[in-house]
Symmetry: D2
Subunit: 364 residues, 4 copies
């Protein structure tokens, strides 16, 4: 099943209501980090601003809950509130239908609505949904993205706790299916703990036997890495010879490890300031054409917040950004949907099995 | 907030498409327990059959996934497939819009559809939904039903494991808020274990200390009850002096205890044949105007299967049947919605707290 | 990793406290289905009764929460309370340590206790436990059991909802890894729905598109099967050509489908009386050397109730019975442990992935 | 039931193995933020260092996974690895039993071990555990702590989404049961959204109706607060007149809002650097005698990491620190236990009901 990306259908701006729509209005920021009262907030969908009579300009890099800033060069930029500076010109307007000079285009990819009957079963995705199709779709999608896209992975620590899952993910990295990675402190810490000590939170990673003084293992790992000063040095010196982080370093895959209040250590690479971490994550998210989030509610929501539903390709055409969330609970999967990320595809399973199955499937 | 029941708006059968609709067609059953191939299956909504020119007859006691049988007296009856007998006349037709002489009326109570925006938050009910309004609605609803309705409770065993919850439910019974009860073998067994031994599955019910030979307590309970021959006798003899079952017996509230393959014992009252149990449950469900299901996936789905979304009152008017499912997991709550029971209201919480809070709220 | 079954170490009955223990005492049943007040209840462990001076007799087929009946031929039989008849001789005594002439031997297989530190991580099995070892152990175990054991599978309906999982399980059947199967009405119904209509609860089983009048598909399936009179006939006539049930019939694997109150239909083979169903399930459970339960709390608990932790082989030696519970939630997995089935191994994942991964692994 | 705090029993250092134990050994830090290789890591339990012959010094403010630093004044201080500076003297040793001059005292409060039978039910806490006793214990505990302790609350955002729960918590604050509060950006944001706009994530907070342009409500809240510059100003100006944050400000209760990568805004008070946030949180945690965590895995684990199981009172005596985790899933509750926080008490329920029930119970 080779992938066929859906075609984007731009809005018809000759439609009477749009043809007669006013121009978008901008107002200057009066105080750093604060938008004018009637600011327009962006969504995950392609949005167009009526910038000159008959000229609707697409926001090229949008995302949820940001504002639109017009630069000196008339370029439109989507920015977080916290990045606004006094004097910045910010778009106003809260209607999505053009009457404020702003049009939100939520069905550009014509994802076919499903026929509705008065009485229907199985309208929600749960653990009992069938996922064979999703796996096959992912095989086709990732085969395509390996050549032509940018696959961003968002990982919770669970993946590092299982031997097979670690190995499978490292193989995905080496096979070219991983172009960027977002995680916290725990994922690399426990992956490195496995590489250095063969344990995960003090438990022998394969046989699950507790080892003597096991609760020292992740602390020793952190202490060793902090002494070395960087993960790259640990790899270069041959101390870390396998695992997820090792594969990333070896293949020069960019990663961002964002700090959180539950961190021990942390590892040298972890970013302590969460908004600096957001910026670093966003630098990868803006390149993503597919995002796969594995068992991390915090990082999944954070990444969902900064990832639009589309991407503008170099030739100016638009393609969808695929967003997968793999988790064990309906609550986690639906949390994102309840935040407006309607295009998220949820797969309900243990990420250990997910990664092992996916990697085998991609090998054919 | 006194309750205002929504008004029922019957279909307009003078509408051209309905006015010109054919009569409903019936076919004789050829084999016991088997419907004719094109049988019509019922839903939870009010359905009308075109039985004579211009005469659309409402199915008075419908429910999901049954068939419509026309009796010798022309009465229409909704029956399970397994109850069909050779020669029975069964309605045919699979369209809901009148073209088969059958009309499914899914918005008779005009439950206002909510306005849709292109980008919206919180479309699903989860543990993070607000439930204050649901409680207030329940207080008003149950105050109404105590006088004018029939509240059917469907209980999993969890309620019997907690002292306060048991007492709160017994108070609900004595205060007149419980008109029927459905459960399995475990709920009455552990409630009686608490009454006889002060334990729940061998754990002291209040302090949660394991008692000596605690795993005998529910077996002793079952053995004692089996020796006595009935729960009523245990109450009459003063052996059982408090608890859920005690309150039911004392107030002459009808109950059905349906057997399952995980039963020990069972108690004398438990119905071993699950289809006989369905019939007994249905005898209560057909009277229900409100159903409240607490922490039992099996019994909740079973009851959902046999409960329509409306009830015909003695004066011929229709009112909605309220159906609540209280559970800890989104999966359980949504299982019912995924089976087509769209009118279910889910409350995500521990049923212990739910019952305690509800009972306090009803006391005012 | 070839399997090495742990060796059984019988109790040392020359130990002073056991050597001087009294004989086990029996009392006659006074009322059908009711045990004498001081009855002894069995556990999942090997138990020995002191039946003659120095002679401790093993209960050969025990299970949880039953009583011990001595037959006319002096044979000891473990029976459910409901099977007791007036005059039956039932063992008395509630101590496990020999002082009542009964000895419960809970560490016969010397499953090494793990070293305890004052401060330790990861003492509970959760979704974040590593399962690679469990898979490898299962590969070795099932390879052994295929030749020398009896693998009993206990299935919830989820498995029938996914194309790959259905196919994987059917392959397991054909490859000889399935010797018996326990389920309810839903698993075979939806498996047959897939075989006959290509849907699962009305949703196209692979692409997950709702089909027109999808909610008729499982009803049509039930009606068709009821018309035919048996699943075997549907297979024999070539109507059912693939799937789980098809493989079972083709390979003559015994199965029990137990009825429940949530059943539609039911299928002709479903047993309506739950205690008759228990007996039929027990007839398979008593042969089991490994039990694998997939996503069904009801059937898992029921099977756990009737499965001891050991089996006596034809040569008189004892081997452990392996019991796996695969589910998505810690609550479900732990429910069994909380009922005393301490030897259960829990694997937390979606059973779709579990079966696909397991089947691939067994192919090597 | 008035509270009786358990008495602390210090170790008996005249015991031969302890009397002859060596002195604790210290080593100088060679590199900032890195401990010497054989560092001793602390636990949640009271620990004693053998600092001079016969003199065992208690660590007065310990917590998990930190190291022990000896100051110039010979004082022992427990510090995070990241706070170590070159030249600091750090305690070495990995045995807990005195042989390294370090003694970990894990049963000082003699929390009675429960009797073990070979076959026992209900050893794990789940949603089906009884919680009446826990509530009663909490009523007694909080009544005591209101006068004599320091109750630290750790809140996820869920509490702000429900009218009754918000009001109940605000009443707890005003009644003196809240002495400190830890949360992220979401809790105060949605609480302020409710106060300013009557919504929670764009949904009318009581009736749960979506309001027009609801997804602007939390952004407007953040923007307004950022314009004002502080929460206190919003309260002082009368813009915020009710709710959780309002009560905190009014009663001068200290709070820490820690940033995370999923933040919008953030509010002015939110700490961007997570390790600075840890320090601020720790400043409250070190005063805590009871910690209650509500529906936040991230903050619960973070707080668990920094809270020992005991506190040294001004008179030098020790009392236990009570730690409660209230959540909907066994996974969340057990996550903490799996990280070694064995003294955590889990209550499985929706925090909305928990807070409403608790507040009513404390009113008596």
């Amino acid at each position: 099943m080779p992938l066929r990306l859906p075609v984007y259908h731009p809005p018809d701006f000759t439609r009477p209501d749009l043809a007669t729509a006013p121009l978008a209005v901008f107002e200057a920021v009066a105080q750093d980090g604060v938008a004018p009262e009637s600011y327009h907030a962006t969504s995950i969908f392609p949005e167009y601003l009526h910038v000159a009579p008959g000229k609707w300009q697409l926001l090229e890099e949008s995302r949820m809950d940001c504002v639109v800033r017009r630069g000196a060069d008339e370029r439109l930029e989507v920015v977080e509130f916290r990045r606004l500076r006094r004097g910045d010109q910010v778009a106003l307007g809260r209607h999505e239908d053009g009457r404020d000079g702003i049009y939100v285009h939520d069905d550009g990819f014509r994802l076919a609505a499903q026929p509705q009957e008065k009485f229907a079963f199985r309208t929600l995705t749960t653990r009992e949904s069938s996922f064979s199709f999703d796996y096959d779709e992912l095989y086709a999608l990732l085969a395509h993205e390996r050549q032509a896209g940018f696959v961003l992975w968002v990982l919770g620590p669970a993946l590092a706790f299982d031997r097979d899952a670690r190995q499978a993910f490292a193989r995905l990295v080496r096979a070219g299916y991983v172009h960027g990675l977002l995680a916290g402190n725990a994922l690399p810490t426990h992956d490195l703990e496995a590489a250095l000590h063969g344990t995960a939170l003090g438990q022998e990673i394969y046989r699950k036997q507790p080892v003597a003084q096991g609760h020292y293992k992740h602390l020793d790992t952190l202490n060793q890495l902090r002494a070395l000063g960087s993960i790259e040095r640990a790899v270069a010196r041959g101390l870390v010879r396998e695992g997820i982080v090792h594969a990333l370093v070896e293949k020069h895959i960019p990663y961002v490890f964002a700090g959180s209040i539950r961190d021990d250590g942390p590892l040298p690479e972890v970013i302590a300031d969460v908004y600096a971490a957001q910026d670093a994550m966003r630098a990868l998210a803006r390149r993503a054409t597919t995002v796969v989030c594995l068992a991390t509610q915090l990082h999944t929501i954070a990444t969902g917040n900064m990832t639009p539903s589309y991407r503008v390709l170099p030739d100016g055409s638009l393609r969808p950004v695929y967003f997968y969330s793999v988790d064990m609970s309906e609550f986690a999967a639906q949390k994102l949907i309840n935040r407006g990320s309607l295009s998220t595809r949820a797969i309900l399973t243990n990420v250990q099995d997910f990664v092992v199955t996916l990697e085998r499937g991609l090998r054919g």
